[in-house]
């Protein structure tokens, strides 16, 4: 009995090896190319990561094939969950590489992207980030590209908005050890001080903190006009609600992560008046691709039991897939280095606008959408461009 079990296990393992090797030829003889999806689907950023994955899956549904050397290749998405954890991210990245991915998409969350960056570089597999906004993701890494704007830009946009809104004193709340949160908080602080504003309080919290009352009490004592709190979707409603409970009336602002309907759901009426910057506005499609995307993606969201409000990260996920496809076509190859060289010169009319890469591999974007929460919905306020 035991011997049979051992034999079965070995047989199964052997099967896996046989199938893992076949990356370009599927059983029916149809040519296949693999795109790896490197996203968190559990853990702290599980909710946001899933929305980004939905954008990619939908793009795969709309554009299921790609032409290479006059032959039609079927695009297969392989998903690996990086669990919002820097250690898990390395494992997930390695598993995608070993499954034969030609291009990688992701990740939501800058920390995990930075952690996995070297693996993509060493294996010469290009990666296209969708919504990781920290400069360190692409800096000094020839194989990492991204389709969204960066934190220095986003921080400046929010600081400008606060300043124009009449704020003189700001408080900043950031998460210890989180590259996105502390990075964006710093860029905001720098820009706000440059404008002549005063940062009266800087507070930090640890991952998985649920009690923000002490740091909010400290902030209340300094009486700021705005609170800038870039953080994850999980912490957002806690900060918003506890601030209002303590009687803090200052305007609360954050970055792109907060554009998520679960925040309104969980924070309820306390979320009214919260301001955030984001990549995309579905009321104002920038390109033809965007108009097409908005029409098709809403029913797709409902199919997947999501509210029919398009999250900006889904739009970016969709765009990253389009860019990957365009680069594969331009490279006329399934090889990583060739696709990487094609990415440098690629130009795509995406959902979030025209995408071309600068020498760092960052999308050349200078437009952010500011939204405010009103009557339980994200309402477009204005677009801001800096430079």
């Amino acid at each position: 009995m035991k011997r049979i079990a051992v034999f079965l296990v070995i047989a199964l393992l052997a099967c896996q090896f046989v199938f893992a090797g076949g990356s370009t030829e599927s059983k029916s003889g149809e040519k296949e190319i693999i795109i790896g999806v490197f996203e968190p689907q559990t853990g702290e950023n599980g909710g946001g990561g899933y929305q980004e994955v939905l954008g990619m899956r939908y793009a795969n549904k709309v554009y299921p094939t790609v032409q290479i050397n006059g032959e039609t290749y079927k695009v297969r998405l392989i998903e690996a969950d990086n669990k919002s954890d820097k250690t898990e991210a390395v494992t997930a990245a390695q598993s995608l590489i070993s499954s034969g991915a030609s291009v990688i998409l992701g990740s939501y969350g800058s920390g995990v992207s930075i952690a996995a960056g070297d693996i993509f570089l060493d294996n010469e597999v290009p990666a296209i980030g969708a919504s990781c906004t920290n400069p360190q993701v692409t800096f000094g890494n020839d194989y990492y590209f991204r389709v969204c704007f960066l934190d220095p830009f986003q921080g400046t946009v929010m600081a400008n908005f606060a300043w124009q809104d009449g704020a003189k004193k700001a408080a900043v709340i950031t998460q210890l050890g989180d590259d996105y949160s502390s990075g964006l908080g710093n860029f905001f602080k720098r820009a706000f001080v440059d404008l002549g504003g005063n940062v009266v309080s800087e507070q930090q919290f640890q991952t998985n903190t649920t009690d923000f009352k002490s740091i909010l009490t400290n902030i209340k004592a300094t009486n700021p006009d705005v609170i800038f709190a870039p953080s994850s979707i999980a912490t957002a409603p806690l900060i918003i609600k506890q601030a209002r409970e303590l009687g803090i009336t200052a305007k609360i602002m954050a970055g792109d992560t907060w554009e998520n309907s679960s925040i309104i759901e969980n924070a309820g009426s306390s979320a009214e008046g919260v301001v955030l910057s984001t990549f995309f506005d579905d009321a104002d499609p920038a390109t033809d691709e965007a108009a097409k995307f908005i029409k098709g993606f809403k029913p797709y969201l409902v199919e997947n039991n999501q509210p029919d409000i398009i999250p900006a990260v889904s739009a970016l996920g969709y765009d990253s897939y389009l860019v990957a496809l365009k680069a594969i076509e331009a490279a006329n190859s399934t090889k990583g280095p060739a696709i990487r060289d094609a990415l440098v010169d690629v130009a795509v009319e995406g959902v979030t606008g025209k995408i071309v890469f600068d020498q760092n591999g960052d999308a050349d974007k200078d437009l952010a959408f500011i939204k405010v929460i009103e009557n339980g919905q994200f309402k477009f306020l204005k677009t801001v461009s800096v430079l």
Partner: protein, 293 residues
């Protein structure tokens, strides 16, 4: 720091301490009788959070609270029956390992059933009513937590010291074997102990999560460990000691964050555990017991 800020911080600290105290009692009661550190206790607290989310979705809040507490108590008793009772005559270490197993089982079961994405904790409007005195602002649950903790501990002390069940519990904690010989139904005593411990964890869970509004499968881990430290600090096996330990840890933790040392607030709790074990292993109010040979 102004006087209102200090008062606001104290309020937060006392409220957090109250919730810790309620959970710490669960550790202390079980240890007192079974000499077992019930590592699954923090996860019972977490599960109670999920029970409340689901029962509040289908019942009005007074019934939902009763249902939640009832299910939590039943779960506590069931865990004892399935995972601890069969091991009662085996070495103490086996039960402890079983408890760790139950803890992981509950965490992973919750991850499987409810996913790791945080769930919003529903609001009970009455508990969330906000009171303002000058610059001071707090919801009812913040004020209620420490009061309720003290009332429940007083009731528990009466139960332990004045009733027959309490007498049986005290006897069992003094000497398990002799209590059995004297005709005490030891299984009933243990069931009652787990029921009380789980009930308090359930009440603590409602107070804690109403104030903090989100539950994940790992929400119970850190509060659980901290409350265990609180129980050791107060002298494990001693009920008022556990509550005082809970208040102490809650207040110091809040104070550290208030002073800007949020990085060290968790570290403090565990340094306290080590120092306590080195300097006064019996805790603040623990009795010095003779080792039975």
């Amino acid at each position: 720091m102004s006087i209102t800020t200090i008062l606001q911080h104290s309020l937060t600290g006392i409220s957090l301490g109250g919730a810790y105290g309620l959970i710490a009692i669960g550790y202390t009661l079980v240890y007192g009788i079974l000499r077992l550190i019930n590592f699954a206790h923090g996860d019972i607290f977490m599960m109670a959070g999920y029970f409340m989310i689901f029962s509040l979705a289908s019942f009005p809040w007074p019934i939902a609270i009763v249902v939640t507490l009832l299910i939590t108590v039943l779960m506590g008793i069931a865990i004892e029956r399935v995972a601890y009772k069969p091991l009662r005559s085996s070495p103490r270490m086996s039960i402890m390992i079983s408890a760790i197993g139950v803890s992981y089982l509950l965490q992973n079961l919750a991850t499987y059933l409810f996913t790791a994405i945080p769930r919003g904790y529903p609001e009970i409007p009455l508990l969330k009513r906000i009171f303002r005195v000058g610059e001071l602002s707090a919801s009812l649950v913040t004020l209620l937590t420490p009061v309720l903790t003290i009332v429940l501990v007083a009731l528990l002390m009466i139960l332990v010291n004045k009733t027959k069940t309490g007498m049986a519990m005290r006897a069992a904690s003094k000497d398990f074997e002799t209590a059995k010989l004297m005709g005490i139904n030891i299984n009933r005593v243990i069931t009652v102990t787990f029921a009380i411990g789980s009930l308090l964890a359930g009440i603590g869970s409602i107070l804690y999560f109403t104030d903090r509004m989100s539950v994940t499968p790992f929400s119970g881990t850190l509060p659980g460990l901290k409350c265990f430290v609180a129980a050791v600090f107060g002298g494990i096996g001693n009920i008022p000691g556990a509550v005082i330990g809970g208040f102490f840890i809650g207040i110091v933790e809040t104070l550290l964050v208030a002073l800007g040392y949020s990085t060290f607030s968790d570290a403090f709790t565990f340094v306290l555990l080590i120092v306590m074990l080195l300097v006064k292993p019996t805790g603040l109010f623990g009795e010095k017991t003779m080792e039975k040979v």
